[in-house]
Amino acid sequence: MLAEPASPIVADAGGDLVLTGVRKTYGPVVVLDVPELAFRRGQVVALVGENGAGKSTMMGVISGSVTPDEGTITVAGDSLGAGTHHAQEHGVMMVSQEFPLVGQLSVAENLLLGRRPSERRFLVDWRAMESTARGMLERVGLDVPVRRKVDALSVAQRQLIEIAKALGRGPRVLILDEPTSALGPAESERVLQIARECAAAGGIVIFVGHRLNEVRQVADRIVVLRNGRLVADMTPQEATEQRIVFEMVGRDLSGEGAIQSPQADAPVTLELRGLTAEGLGPLDLAVSAGEVVGVAGLMGSGRSRLLHVLMGAIPCTGGEMLLGGKRYRPRDTADAVLSGVALIPEDRKRQGLLVDSSIRWNGTLAVLRRISLRGIVLTPRGDRTKSREVVASARVRCQSTEQSARSLSGGNQQRLIFGRWMAANPDLLLLDEPTRGVDVGAKAEIYHLIDEQRRQGMAILVASSELEELLSICHRVVVMRDGSITATFDRSEFSKERIIAAAAVDRVAS
């Protein structure tokens, strides 16, 4: 039996990770150029930078999935060769944002993929496998049945499983790529703690994050990349959020994101009275035109579910919905769009984009009928004109509307989806994790877009696991727990502690 060691988490032998003269180019573009960078044992090093700054390339180079043009990477003096396999043999484990989990397999099978939990040679020892898996889940504080298929889990749960999987292999170097972007406050806290434990046990933790407060909280050292180069290497004391942002984007962004309150006499756009749906409600809520209301809550609290019910993607089972004073009960999403509702979902790639199609196709997807002649004929010119409008209005940076959505950076993809819905000009805009996985600069732009829509009189409902985000862009925050609203805070009463308390009462993580 392979007994699960309680601690230390990290394999004991190990040394520093050193990058020397590492350079990577794609065509004429230098995406990474690092003369020298050493990661010390026992440290959590935060790697920050905008999308396209070279973080992914650096992680790829360290984990072996990207072969640098020049330079060497050594772990404890051993030079790493090409390929992820070699890196893994040296204890380099990467927890990526794109979870390479096998959806059709159970949690336990995924956790132990490629490993054998017992000495038996040919048959799978299910019992040993499941108990090992349970041990691994406990370490990340995730409570799901190990026999459940991964397909049935939420993004947040999959993220924790990825982390558990990497920890289970006893990493010397643990790379966490935005590990908390899908998580609520309590789970995020746990992940940060895991990172600290891992470093305390002598490991090297590379933490890539967009939430600067987390970065400052967890890291012993903060390394900033910009355009493929190291621009700053700071201690947490030196690294104020303002300083980090400044280093990342190369200029000062403070002052952006201040919001005005909505007009007092604005009409109510959305009103819910005793709304119920599977796992939801009864809920009462009203959102006025020009108002931004945040929905906070832990994962599984029903945040996304509420938005999906409003979008007609999950049927509502009772209660009343009023949209612009009229009874609203969408049969499907098409109904919702016709009634003036729009949803920007949480998972861009799975729920938002046609990744292999062009920007043009993605941009006009929600208004196809409207831009068609006589409501039927889609002319190439109409399509092109509209897609250019979408790209311009949402400030999507691209070379042509014919390039694929896949070729855009995360922030640009998100703006493209914003543009898609701005073209539809809805009355009610539903946002689910609007800035998940986008960098600081792109975040500011998305907040700016939200504010623009608000000014035009749109009612906006934002669900987010990032409290700072809600506190900075919302007029009001409602807190959900177990499918119901447990508290409402006006802007004047905003307090992180009270919101967390309202979200987590009698659910404190064990």
Partner: protein, 359 residues
């Protein structure tokens, strides 16, 4: 709106290498694979015609056209299903069934020819709707649902046509027998269907929504596209196309018989795939599908014309299919690579479309 792009700091030169005519041709072929298929059809035809000059004769061309009409119409219907990420295995069995049913209605029941055609096509559409309902409302896999019909319809049509039902109506036989300016009516029907299908897919909102459903069903649904209705629509189209081909086949063999079209569903799928329709969904064009069917027909009839043994015919067709999918895969790998290059370039180039493209 003139907000500054926030994350652009350095200028990177756009990749505008001077391109030779050859590399431009290569890029064109990579971007539009249909051109390659059309070229392959022409080359194959020229080779066969050079070996056996009868192959390019008027009568032989008419035969070729009638064979093509059957395969291509079936492939067009099939490609709608494949574009949504589904598949329709029933088209061959349904074609055989409607071949028998149309003969039975017209000959045995004495229904006028025009009404026979309308009834059969409506019946085909309804059968497709039945597929669509099972797929969308019960969430069954298209493969399984249409596999049922594949088996069931084959039995039904053998039961109906124990003896072939000979067709005598000159109007009915005229579908294949008559020509307009030397072109058989069936070929004209093919052209009309292909043009309508092309228009529907590429020039109407419905077509774009069908592609979107195949590209990412969940994204399409959350963008307000009625996914279930679109999926039902494609199976209705495929069923109706099977019915049209059933009528053409009945007219061609001048009777309703059961064993006339075995294996046609696979030819329809092969034609779609050769024509560049991705089995994952979301991609493919009608011109490619028709060209794919044409390539198969030219190979089949051409190999007969130059007296190649039937075994070798199947092997050649199989190899062409393999070649088509391998070439397509290489093309996609190439495209993805260039896509990656674009991604690396995009964030650091300050090409704002609103500025560079604002005409």
């Amino acid at each position: 709106m003139s907000a500054q792009p926030l994350s652009t700091t350095t200028e990177a030169p756009l990749q505008t290498r001077p391109e030779s005519a050859g590399s431009r041709l290569r890029e064109l072929l990579i971007g539009t694979p249909e051109i390659g298929i059309v070229a392959a059809v022409i080359v194959a035809f020229a080779v066969f015609a050079a070996i056996n000059s009868d192959f390019a004769s008027g009568a032989e061309l008419q035969n070729l056209g009638i064979d093509l009409a059957g395969f291509a119409i079936l492939a067009v219907g099939e490609s709608f299903c494949i574009i949504t990420g589904g598949i329709d295995l029933s088209v061959g069995s349904l074609t055989a069934l409607f071949c028998v049913v149309s003969a039975w209605l017209n000959v045995t029941e004495g229904v006028p020819v025009i009404f026979t055609f309308l009834i059969v096509i409506a019946f085909g559409g309804l059968w497709g709707l039945f597929h669509g309902l099972l797929i969308t409302k019960l969430g069954l896999a298209p493969f399984v649902v249409t596999l049922f019909t594949f088996i069931f319809a084959a039995g039904l049509d053998e039961a109906m046509a124990v003896n072939p039902i000979p067709i005598t109506s000159s109007v009915f036989l005229g579908v294949v027998g008559s020509t307009v300016a030397g072109v058989p009516i069936a070929v004209i029907v093919l052209v009309v269907i292909a043009v309508v299908a092309w228009f529907a897919l590429e020039r109407t909102y419905l077509g774009r929504q069908i592609y979107a459903v195949g590209g990412n069903q969940e994204a399409a649904r959350l963008a307000g596209i009625p996914v279930q209705r679109r999926v039902m629509l494609v199976y209705v189209i495929s069923g109706a196309c099977s019915a049209v081909v059933g009528v053409i086949v009945a007219s061609h063999i001048t009777s309703g018989t059961a064993d006339s079209v075995s294996g046609w569903e696979l030819i329809a799928i092969a034609a779609s795939v050769i024509g560049g329709v991705s089995l994952i969904g979301g991609q493919g064009r009608i011109i490619g599908v028709v060209a794919g069917a044409a390539l198969l027909v030219v190979l089949r009839d051409g190999l007969v014309a130059v007296n190649v043994n039937a075994y070798y015919q199947s092997m050649v067709v199989g190899l062409v299919l393999l070649l088509a999918i391998v070439v397509d895969r290489l093309r996609i790998i190439r495209l993805e690579r260039s896509g990656k290059r674009v991604r690396r370039v995009a964030p650091v180039s300050s090409t704002e479309l609103s500025a560079s493209d604002g005409s």
